[in-house]
Structure formats: C-alpha cells, structure tokens
C-alpha cells in the first residue's frame, strides 16, 4: 500500500539550531532517504521551504482568490512529505518513526487513495 508521511514541526525549533545542528539533521535525512530507497520503500518526497513562503489559492464564483500564508495557522508547521510503499500500517509507522524530525515534531501517516477508473 501507498502511504503519505507528512512531517510537521515547530519552525522555531529549527530556527534555534546552530548551523552545525542544521547541517547534521539534513545529512541524517539524506541518509534516511537512501536507506528507504534501497529497501524499496521510497517513492518520492520533498522537504518544503518555511511556512512564511506559503500562498493559498481558492476559486469562488469563478474568481481566483490568492491569500498570503498557509491554509490554517497551526502549532506545528508542515515541513515536508514522503510517499512511501509499505506492506501495511505497521510497516508504514515503523518507517515514519525513523524520519529524523519525528524526534521533535510529528509525522502524520495517511494511506493514499486511488482515484476511481476514468469514465
């Protein structure tokens, strides 16, 4: 099954890191992705720029509305995602627990949904 692991953390924690700590965290994430890829669990994934770079788009009555910032203000911010291939939820949770920001943030694991066949 395909699962998405959404990585959330308080950006303030990252901002307070030394340059060395930030470097080490990134290297750890790179090694983690390599390991996931070798095991055949990694489909794709991407870290994101900080939430202050977010822009939200809505269409109402055919009008495009653009607003500054994320859809919802939350205590922890979305920082990236992984698309994983796992046997079942237990394996997906076990893989997610090894994503480095799990130690200071949260990883939300959701099964992916397939769209129904084209009409």
């Amino acid at each position: 099954m395909k699962y998405v692991a959404l990585v959330y953390y308080q950006e303030s924690i990252i901002n307070a890191m030394t340059e060395q700590e930030w470097h080490d965290l990134n290297q750890e994430c790179i090694a983690g992705v390599e390991r996931l890829a070798q095991q055949g669990n990694f489909i794709t994934g991407q870290p994101l720029q900080p939430v202050e770079t977010a822009t939200t788009v809505r269409v109402r009555d055919d009008e495009v509305l653009v607003s500054d910032g994320p859809f919802a203000e939350t205590k922890e911010q979305l920082a990236g995602f992984y698309l994983l291939e796992a046997r079942d939820l237990n394996e997906a949770l076990q893989l997610a627990s090894r994503i480095p920001p799990a130690r200071f943030g949260s990883i939300e694991v959701r099964p992916a949904r397939e769209l129904p066949p084209k009409d």
Binding site: Y3, A86, D88, L89, N90, A92, L93, Q94, R110, P111
Partner: protein, 410 residues
Amino acid sequence: MTTDDQWIEQIYQQHSRRVLATLIRLLGDFTLAEEAMQEAFTSAVRQWRQEGFPDNPSAWLIRAGHRRGIDHIRRSRTAQHYSHLIDQPEETGTSAIGQTFDDDQLRLLFTCCHPALPLDARVALTLREMCGLTTEQVASGLLQKPATLAQRIVRAKRKIRDAGIPYEVPEAKELPERLPGVLRVIYLVFNEGYSRSDGEQIVDVHLSAEAIRLAEALARLLPEGEVLGLLALMLLQNSRRKARQDEEGNLITLEDQDRSLWDQASIDFGFQWLEAALARTPTGLYTLQASIAAVHAEASKANETDWARIVRLYNALYQQQPSPVIALNRAVAIAMRDTPADGLQLLEELMSHKAFAGYHLFHAARADLQRRAGNLEEARQSYERALGLVSQGPERRFLERRLTELEKFS
C-alpha cells in the same frame, strides 16, 4: 426454546469466536468474515441435522465460511481488490489447527487493540469481536447508546481496512511496545465493569468477568510477565467484589470491608498467577500493583496489613512510573505505616501539582488523613472540596456520608 435451538445456540457459543478470528485472517475483512460466518452457521444447521455432526465442527465451519466469503468476493465489483485472497489455497488440513486458532485469536486481539484506533473503539471492538458480545450488550455494558456504539464500530472497521491495519501478532521486537496497549484495553474493560454498581445496567453483562476471561486466554497464548501480573491483579481486586458495596450500593472502604465476604477462590487463583508473574523479570507495573493487592488479601484484619511492605512496593512502582496518582497512593501508605501527619506532609508537597487541583480522590485522601489526625475542621473543608469535584454515584454518596459523620463529632 426447543432442544434444537439450544443445540444450535451451544454450537454457536462454542465455535463462533475462533471461526470468526480465522475467517477474518482468510478473508481480510471484518464485515465480510461476519457475514460469511453467519451463512456458514445457517448451512451447518441444515446439513448437520441431516448428516450428523462432523468430527471437527470448527474446521467445517471455517471451510464453509471461507467458501461463502470467496463467493461474495467473486460476485462483488471490488473483486480486483481481493484477487490475492481468491487464489490462495482453501483451509483444509486439521493438522496444527489448534495452533492456527490460537494465532488467529492473538491476531484479532492485537488488531482490535491497535493504537491507531481511538481508545473507546478499541474497547468496543475487543468486547464485540473477542468476547463475542452483541452490539447491544457492549452498549449496555459501557452505558452508551447502541446506535452510537454501532457507528463507532463501523468507523473502526473502516479504518482497519482503509488504513491497512494488519491482522498480525507483532514481531518479538515490537512486542514490548504493543503489549502494554493490549493490557490497557483489557484493564479498562475490567474497570468499566468493576467501578459500576450492580443495577445500573439493563442487560446482565459482567465486563469484569469478560476482562478476566480475556486475560486468561492471553496468559495461555502469550505468557509474558505483565500478562500474568494483570490477570493476578484483576483476580485479587475482583475477589472483593461482594464486600465493597452495601445493599444500597454504598461504597465500603478496604478498611471497613467484611473480609469474610472476600472470594477465597479468586484470591487463590490471584496468588498463583502472581507467583508465575514474579518468576519473570523485569517486574512490571501490573505485577507490582498485584503484589500490593496481595498484601491486602493476606491480612485477615485491616489492622494486620503490612504497610511497610506496601510502601516498599509503591516506591518501586513510583520509580517505574512517577505519576501523581502513584505519589498520592504512596503518601497514603506512608501515613498508614507511620502517622497521618507524615502522609499529610507529603500531600502538602504534592498540592502544587496541577493534576491534583481538580482530582477529587486527592482531596478525599487529604480529608481522610486530616480526620485521622483529628483536624476535623480541615477535614470538613477537604471533603467539601472533593464533593465539589465528584459526579453523582457511589463515590459521591460515600463522601457525603463521611462529611455527615464528621459533623456529628464536631
């Protein structure tokens, strides 16, 4: 009921749980497995009347249910989704079938208690799927509306299917992480039954007895120290069932209970399981709590209680889990070993803890120690504080009674 109906009922009682657990594994879907099992029983009734009883009824029912389930899958539009199940060989052999049943029971329990499900759904699912209670019985046992409970069960089953919660016993290395969650559900079921006074329920379901049965089954399948410890704890607590309330449903404290009402058979079983639990290291939280219950069970009078030993056990408990509730119980045990003033001093230190401000048992324990120390006015204030926090029920009546007694003296 005709004898035939009784016969069918008996077969159902005897076989339905293990048949369902195995069918869930084979068919990979709770709802489908339940439907298939019902159909298998229907055809069994017809066929067994004519052709006689098969050698192995469970195996017969599983074969029939498996075939029915696969027919359903073939007919349904989502056949693609289940294709891997259709191709697998039919469950036939009777060799090692006992082992398979046991494994399936464990798988079902770990699935029902999966931490990805909301806690109330875990309790409801376990009672329904593992204990074989009907939705109405579970709802009555948990004092909930059947419709609400049914909805919760449907949602949980949907999550099991859609989120891919596996039907498996965790591997040995994951077991320390997963087992406490299962034990927590079992103990919650026990307490739901134990904390309730008889007569509050409409249907006669004894959740405490169900929890003990579950733990007994688990102790056989997975004899880990804490499983045995939890079983011992529940047996020892349950032994006081008849003594802990008077005829009007008022609570009686351990100190004031008529100890001749304690169920000696339950105590004996509790001791046996506790001994087995203590033989396995490390000693966990349930085993320590069972050890404390055992010290009480050994005292034939309240004033013969070995409080020094209880304090030592609470120290060990607090070391493993430094929670406010354990700190509170430890302070009370120290008061009983030494003097009420010693206990009160410890409670004063705990006062600053924000968990205690709204916790009625903290104020009730403080009131009790103040009463014992002869500070009646302070005791009255603490009882009132506790009363302000407790909801209706036996605990509230108990506190009111204590307050009235106090006012008679002052």
